[in-house]
């Protein structure tokens, strides 16, 4: 019964989405408040219905209702409860329900919190959002219905892919989808602005919170995925330039560019057509990612479903949404008014530089991801594009980007003094020099990219704090005054500092683990000790255990340093009998500055011992620590008062003391 309720709820959601798409749009054109007023209730209703559907599917999983085909294909009664729940979205159909849930959530949020939006804009934004909902709900009901029943119900399910039975990966999709789908809101705002024919600073300020939520979530989602790959796949790698990884990275790059160019629209009323285009592109990249992963067009370990029929539907969605967006852009964008002019060396100039590099980087990843497909289609054979390509193209683009990132916030609007700004950054220059010297002393000249990378990391990190220090005129005015300034800084200033500093930390982590890691592969018998990087690893025992829904080869290793026991590691090799699949569970000991990583693999055929892989990864935890700081920056920025109060109004009279008014534009 409950799956049928869920099914029916999806149909109702589709009807509500249709209402949300059609009437407010016509109402906005006719300036009819009643028709425009349909948008908000429709959005709330859609959220309610999709939540019911999601709850129904979750209930089916939690109670292991094997009369529902989706549950049969992806679950098993022995599975731990956490993974029964995460199994809801760990498959194609269920993940679409999650997608639409996020879509409805954002729509409802704009309806609820967008009270300071002009009615016509709000109606149009919700209408476009509704159209996207129509597309995905129709797709689900048409080709990927999670509520299909199976009769007779089998006694048990086919189990969830063991690789997905993991806390990191269980929560990776929700954050990713918050990101992907969150950018649909930027898209809706862009499309609505084009329909309105007007892009102004107010628009940029309204778009910002949604873009920040999307960007922060996507950052967290990608970081979680990377962290999962690191500890689960058994080789200590954290990024493989796999097409599906790239499909998430491209919207992130475009979204970062969007966040930055929207600042120029908001503060200087410039770069409008570019920002609009970027908003359309970012969401289109999300959609394209969805298409690539689910259509069967790609060869990848990540790919969800090899189903060309579904692929055709998603392609149609992509064509309508992106094609529609670009068509709207081609027709309406030329009539948008040009904004303020600025000199090349200025904060706007730096942000344009930022956008240029990020767009080029995004295009590079795009080409690298799709080139094998293009080549295959024209009969050029099968090739794969991997890390060497990206190391040669993407990494060099990042160097000037990070260099500009630190100094950019110190530049003035309209026309800036670069030499002066750099002069004020002498602390950052000093710290960077120290970091470079230290790394040269400890690790030597090779690889060169490592030195550059450490320089970038230190520069970015220190630059962020130097900028804050500049704002409070640290050491140039009394400390108490600096403190007052600091406490009263707009939260977006803190957001900037945190995000940029986080980026620096993450870069340090990436460089450390890529350039300076140590690896040791050998056969060990019980009692053997291996020395690596100043640590000793001793294999104590290997047992066969049966736990929940898997069998484990459970090893115990002791790590010593100078004779003292540092840690006990338990690397495992698991085998899941129902799914007939094995996983490697590496054992990791982290000092939060570096990781010791141990894997005990198969026993050797001659019974001498076990193949073991030991790694020392310096600075690797900083990759995820830095990412979290970036996410924190996004969240702090979101809490900025100006985003809640709205656009500053022109003051007609001098403000009364203590009047609650908008903050002066800064």
């Amino acid at each position: 019964m409950i799956p049928e309720i869920g099914h029916y709820a999806l149909v109702l959601a589709l009807l509500l989405a249709i209402v949300q798409s059609v009437f407010p749009l016509i109402g906005a054109a006719r300036r009819d408040p009643a028709w425009m007023g349909l948008a908000a209730p429709a959005a709330h209703g859609q959220l309610l219905m999709v939540t019911v559907a999601f709850a129904a599917l979750t209930q089916a999983y939690v109670t292991s209702d094997f009369s529902v085909l989706n549950v049969v294909q992806n679950s098993h009664s022995d599975k731990p409860m956490l993974y029964k729940i995460s199994g809801v979205w760990g498959n194609h159909e269920g993940s679409l329900v999650l997608w639409v849930l996020m879509l409805a959530l954002f729509g409802s949020a704009v309806a609820a919190f967008g009270s300071n939006l002009p009615p016509t804009l709000k109606a149009r934004v919700l209408a476009v959002q509704g159209m996207i909902g129509v597309g995905f709900l129709a797709f689900m009901l048409g080709t990927s219905n999670p509520f299909i029943r199976v009769d007779p119900a089998p006694l048990n399910g086919q189990d969830l892919n063991p690789l997905l039975q993991d806390p990191g990966l269980a929560f990776h999709p929700p954050f990713l989808y918050l990101g992907y789908v969150g950018f649909s809101m930027a898209f809706s705002f862009a499309a609505a602005a084009l329909i309105e024919g007007k892009v102004d600073p107010a628009w940029a300020r309204w778009v910002r919170p949604w873009t920040l939520i999307a960007w922060s979530s996507l950052t967290l989602g990608i970081a979680m995925g990377s962290w999962w790959a690191y500890y689960e796949l058994g080789w200590g790698g954290w990024w493989f330039w796999d097409p599906v990884e790239n499909a998430s990275f491209m919207p992130w790059l475009a979204g970062t560019a969007l966040l930055h160019s929207a600042i120029v629209v908001e503060k200087r009323d410039a770069l409008k057509t570019w920002t609009i285009l970027l908003a359309i592109i970012t969401f289109s990249l999300s959609l394209m990612g969805t298409f690539l992963v689910r259509s069967g067009i790609l060869t990848s370990v990540h790919a969800f479903a090899v189903d060309p029929e579904r692929g055709v539907f998603i392609l149609a969605l992509l064509v309508i949404a992106t094609g529609g967006g670009f068509l709207l852009y081609a027709v309406r964008a030329p009539s948008l008014k040009i904004g303020g002019i600025f000199a090349p060396v200025s904060r706007e100039g730096a942000l344009v530089f930022n956008n240029l590099l990020l767009s080029t980087a995004c295009a590079t990843v795009f080409i690298g991801t799709l080139y094998p497909l293009f080549l295959d289609a024209v009969g050029g054979g099968k090739v794969s594009v991997g890390p060497p390509f990206y190391n040669a193209t993407f990494v060099p683009l990042m160097v000037p980007l990070v260099a500009a990132m630190a100094v950019g916030p110190l530049l003035a609007w309209k026309r800036a003094d670069l030499a002066g700004a750099l002069g004020r950054m002498w602390v950052a220059i000093l710290v960077t020099a120290v970091a470079v010297l230290w790394s040269l002393w400890v690790h030597g000249f090779k690889p060169v990219m490592a030195i550059i990378g450490i320089a970038m990391a230190a520069w970015a990190f220190m630059g962020a704090w130097v900028e804050l220090a500049e704002r409070v005129r640290l050491f140039r005015i009394p400390l108490a005054e600096s403190w007052t300034r600091l406490v009263n800084l707009p939260r977006s200033a803190w957001g900037t500092a945190l995000s940029h500093a986080g980026m620096g930390i993450a870069i340090a982590g990436m460089v450390g683990t890529s350039a300076w890691k140590t690896e040791s592969i050998q056969v060990m018998a019980i009692g053997d000790t291996v020395s690596m990087s100043g640590y000793e690893f001793r294999l104590d025992k290997v047992e066969q255990l049966r736990i929940e829904n898997y069998v484990s080869q459970f090893a115990t290793m002791t790590v010593l340093k100078d004779g003292e026991i540092i840690a006990t590691l338990n690397p495992e090799q698991r085998f899941y009998p129902v799914a007939k699949q094995g996983t490697t569970e590496a054992a990791i000991h982290t000092t939060f500055i570096s990781d010791l990583y141990a894997v005990v693999a198969e026993p050797t055929p001659d019974g001498r011992g076990w193949t073991t892989r030991l790694y020392y990864h310096p600075l690797v935890p900083w990759i995820w620590f830095g990412s979290i700081v970036m996410v924190l920056g996004g969240m702090v920025s979101l809490a900025d008062r100006r985003l809640r109060i709205g656009v500053p109004e022109r003051r007609r009279a001098p403000p009364a003391a203590g009047a609650a008014g908008a903050q002066p534009a800064e």
Binding site: V306, G311, G323, Y329, A377
Partner: protein, 180 residues
């Protein structure tokens, strides 16, 4: 900013979408995650493998030429999926399908014991301890099964354990058409 520049994103996108559409059509026939064999329709590589044990002939190229179509199965005792497909191979042998095996990177005593325990469906088994012959065939994992026609040309390659539907839909029809 010329008006044409605004149309550029749309134009580029239409090209991209068109390509995706074309590619999707192609995918219907050959899923891209089945990497094709470079050896299809080429004669089987020259090889001469020693027998696994007494009383069971080894395998060489000449055995596959002029003696009707064969299924060549690459297997090993240490390979899990080989075990999964084994009952199917036993059934095929019982039905009279000409099945020969290549024992890949294995120890003869392990392979012999494995076949003794599970049953031996092969009319001939060649031992390839280094995997060199397998490389010539284009093997990159076990199990793999090749359909070789009466003239010794490779006609089809199946990667992974043979599942019943692969047998019904691809392998048996091909074998039947090769038999004439």
């Amino acid at each position: 900013m010329s008006r044409l520049l605004f149309i550029l994103p749309l134009v580029l996108f239409v090209v991209l979408a068109g390509y995706f559409g074309v590619r999707l059509r192609q995918v219907g026939d050959t899923p891209p995650n089945i990497l094709p064999s470079a050896m299809i329709d080429k004669p089987a590589p020259a090889f001469d493998l020693a027998p696994l044990k007494e009383g069971k002939p080894g395998l060489k190229t000449a055995d596959l030429q002029g003696k009707g179509p064969h299924l060549v199965n690459v297997f090993a005792s240490w390979c899990g999926p080989c075990r999964v497909e084994h009952p199917l191979l036993m059934r095929l042998a019982a039905e009279g399908v000409p099945l020969v095996g290549i024992n890949y990177k294995d120890k003869p005593q392990d392979a012999t014991a494995w076949l003794e325990k599970l049953g031996d469906p092969f009319s001939a088994i060649g031992v390839d301890p280094t995997g060199r012959t397998a490389i010539d065939w284009g093997v990159y994992g076990v199990p793999e099964t090749y359909v070789v026609d009466g003239e010794g040309r490779i006609r089809y390659r199946h990667v992974g354990p043979i599942m019943p539907h692969d047998l019904e839909e691809k392998i048996m029809p091909l074998l039947r058409s090769l038999r004439g």
